[in-house]
Symmetry: C2
Subunit: 459 residues, 2 copies
């Protein structure tokens, strides 16, 4: 096997090399992401309007688009030390298998019980809730990755954690539910009978198995109607991208340590938490004109907000109770087809990333799920790690790019984000093995329909 | 939080510090473990008798009780680099939670897709099979941890991998089966209709859901009746303990690097693969009179081979086709009660460890599974990692010992082996959360009955 003598298989930073501050990408953007709007007045949401829903410090982070660095509190850095630094891995075996001259690295965020990068922001949000003296937090979860991360974080800070889990996932995916219970979270199938909105939906749609939008509405209702509670969210928001910048910062420190200059950075994108975190310091250099990188977002062809969505103000939830965000969106009503197994099912994309995309700082590629699972399996067999379907979107494009290098002879250095492991996604893998997985690409008519309901906003 | 300023949360070795040879504990034993016996002649098994079943090089390792070190082939060291070194973690958060003056470290072997230490020997066994030019290997698996590790290893070396999986696990635990399929293994529920023994058992016991003993017999039959195949096993054997010594060697190098001298080393024990690997270099020092350590094996009260078994020759499989080994055993017929969820269900214990136990070099403790799951949950909540039930046996005793230190004020340094993660064991966790988990301790009569059938051997 070829091996660069000085580059280990896995680059681990020392504790002393770990980042001490998060990087706020917005500070370096000339065109700032548009503000959240109050759904009633259509005016920008103020600090005072947001603090009944979110923790005070998190609202400050959410609204601050000028401060470039936020110090990571020591308590969070201590928690990070339990599972970070995550390794930056040189994919020697994958390179050999592909016969590519490209050099492939991946930042692996799956070595923690939540199984993904979600923990990076969960622990931060739990910390600020604790600091504020709150009793607990509420959230929604679909398959359960974010809910698991949040339950771990709340357990660490001794906070109550109420998770509203989409009913069909609650019933069909009991294992993540049990992980959450191990960490002391209460997990309620949504729609429940605990909330006004849940009772309403159950009455209007008897036997419904729920949706993410409904679970969000329940979690927000519980947070705002119970003193000492706030609502937290695992993606899309600016604060989440801020916390997730630890991924990119560690990646850059590790690369710099070995004088490696990446040509291309690839990340999967649903709401943008991973992509925004991974690319942050690289995009910062690009925005400041200090360096150039090809930056590629990969999304599912079945939920193509970057490549086929509109750049417009839209609701963040299907219940339309949350603020409006300006983003690449397929419409708040959009739900990927039932055969969609590959994660990344949010209808919109982080405002920050949407703005950067519109301004030409990054490109996006949409891939179909059978291709994604084939790439996942190929990767697993040579690199050992069984990847999450979400992460495998990035693998697919990294392999494609490495194969292009094989044809051109280019020795590109490719870095991609491996956001997590697929241990709780074996039902989807089973479908793939049994040849039962199909692809779905929404038609133009489908998208026109869901995007026709975008709210009219003159901004 | 208290923190020794110079001891990081996680000690990772550099690639250059990783062990280059396995350590063969038997070389330093005065009383060598008794040899395997031919079940027909009751004479020690020779190299020639063993090579139809096992790979040539592995038989050499199995029989060699004098060579202290075996070089780890470069191909295996390269694979190790994909998931090793595993971290030696200082359990600062657990110490704080317990309020103990003890210093607790754990060697965490779960950061790989197989989820446990089993991969350390799987990759070695696959390598020697490949080196011998074989087509493939066969094995049995219960819950699937070993089968998963072996399928990963075979995929890496492009070997065929036939796994016979106990039928009830195959049906009730489909996720590990799918992981194995992801790595290209063929997984057959046992008893199957592919083998003579499988057909015989199916005919005699229609509707049987299988047993580990039956799966072993099928795997051995397939290996010995198909040219180019050999049988491999994930525990009990000397060769497995040899490969697993990488756990202990890395642990010792990491401790030495920071001048840490452990007082006590704790490992869970089923067949002995983890315990034998973890303690190897420490026990070596003890055997050579260079240092002293308290060494503690932890086993389930429901399958107590160390603490209540006989030290005698016994069959390694319930089908009684394999060689006899002299070991602490509950009798080859012994099967833990159906409520046993906690792993470590083998009726016997590695000959090497059994001999060391008999000679007073280590002690053993048996713990009940509800206590084990309570310790697992306590650990998960503060240290983040959701542990495998097997590993949690060691956690339970580490916590008990740390609490003793709290009473006495002793600042003992405790090292335990955290063999793996519990992501595929959530059914057991669910039982625990729902208060449905019960304990089972076999009666003296139960054990007398199963041990009454030990073969009569005058050795």
């Amino acid at each position: 096997m070829k091996k660069d003598s000085n580059i280990p298989y896995k680059i681990y930073l020392e504790e002393s090399e770990m980042p001490k501050a998060w990087y706020n990408l917005r500070a370096d953007m000339k065109n700032k992401p548009a503000p959240l709007l109050n759904p009633g007045t259509l005016e920008p949401m103020t600090y005072e309007e947001l603090i009944p829903v979110f923790c005070d410090d998190l609202v400050k982070q959410e609204l601050d688009d000028t401060t470039p660095y936020f110090e990571i509190p020591e308590e969070i850095r201590n928690f990070y030390k339990m599972y970070r630094p995550s390794p930056l891995v040189r994919a020697y075996c994958l390179e050999e298998k592909l016969g590519t001259p490209a050099k492939i690295y991946y930042k692996f965020e799956g070595n923690n019980t939540s199984g993904s990068h979600k923990l990076n922001s969960a622990i931060a949000q739990a910390y600020y809730a604790k600091k504020q003296g709150l009793k607990g937090v509420t959230t929604e979860t679909g398959a359960g990755q974010w809910g698991t991360a949040l339950s771990m974080a709340c357990s660490y800070f001794d906070l109550d954690c109420k998770v509203y889990m989409v009913k069909c996932s609650y019933e069909q995916k009991p294992f993540r539910r049990e992980v959450m219970r191990t960490y002391g979270a209460s997990v309620t199938p949504s729609p429940s009978m605990d909330t006004n909105i849940g009772r309403k939906i159950n009455a209007e749609h008897p036997g419904t198995t729920g949706s993410l939008g409904c679970a969000i509405s329940e979690a927000v209702e519980v947070a705002t109607s119970n003193p000492g509670y706030r609502y937290v969210l695992g993606s899309v928001l600016n604060q989440v991208l801020l916390h997730q910048s630890v991924i990119g910062l560690e990646t850059k420190i590790a690369l710099d340590k070995y004088n490696i200059k990446p040509d291309m950075i690839i990340g999967c994108a649903g709401g943008g938490s991973n992509l925004g975190g991974l690319i942050a310091p690289f995009m910062g250099e690009k925005l400041r004109g200090e360096a150039d990188y090809e930056i590629v977002a990969v999304e599912p062809a079945s939920c193509p907000s970057f490549t086929r969505g509109k750049f417009a103000y839209d609701f963040c939830d299907t219940g339309m109770v949350c603020p409006l965000a300006k983003m690449k969106t397929l419409g708040a009503d959009f739900i990927p087809a039932a055969n969609h197994a590959g994660g990344l099912r949010y209808h919109g994309m982080s405002s920050t990333l949407s703005q950067l995309y519109e301004d030409g700082y990054m490109k996006a590629v949409a891939v179909t799920q059978t291709d994604v699972f084939a790439a996942a399996e190929e990767f697993a067999r040579v690199e050992g790690i069984l990847p999450a379907p979400e992460s495998s979107h990035a693998i697919k494009v990294a392999i494609d790019e490495a194969l292009k290098c094989k044809q051109t002879g280019e020795e590109k250095t490719i870095v991609f984000g491996l956001t997590g492991t697929g241990y709780f996604d074996m039902v989807a893998y089973e479908k793939f093995h049994d040849g039962l997985m199909t692809d779905y690409i929404p038609t133009d008519e489908d998208l026109e329909k869901s995007m026709s309901k975008l709210p009219k906003v003159d901004k």
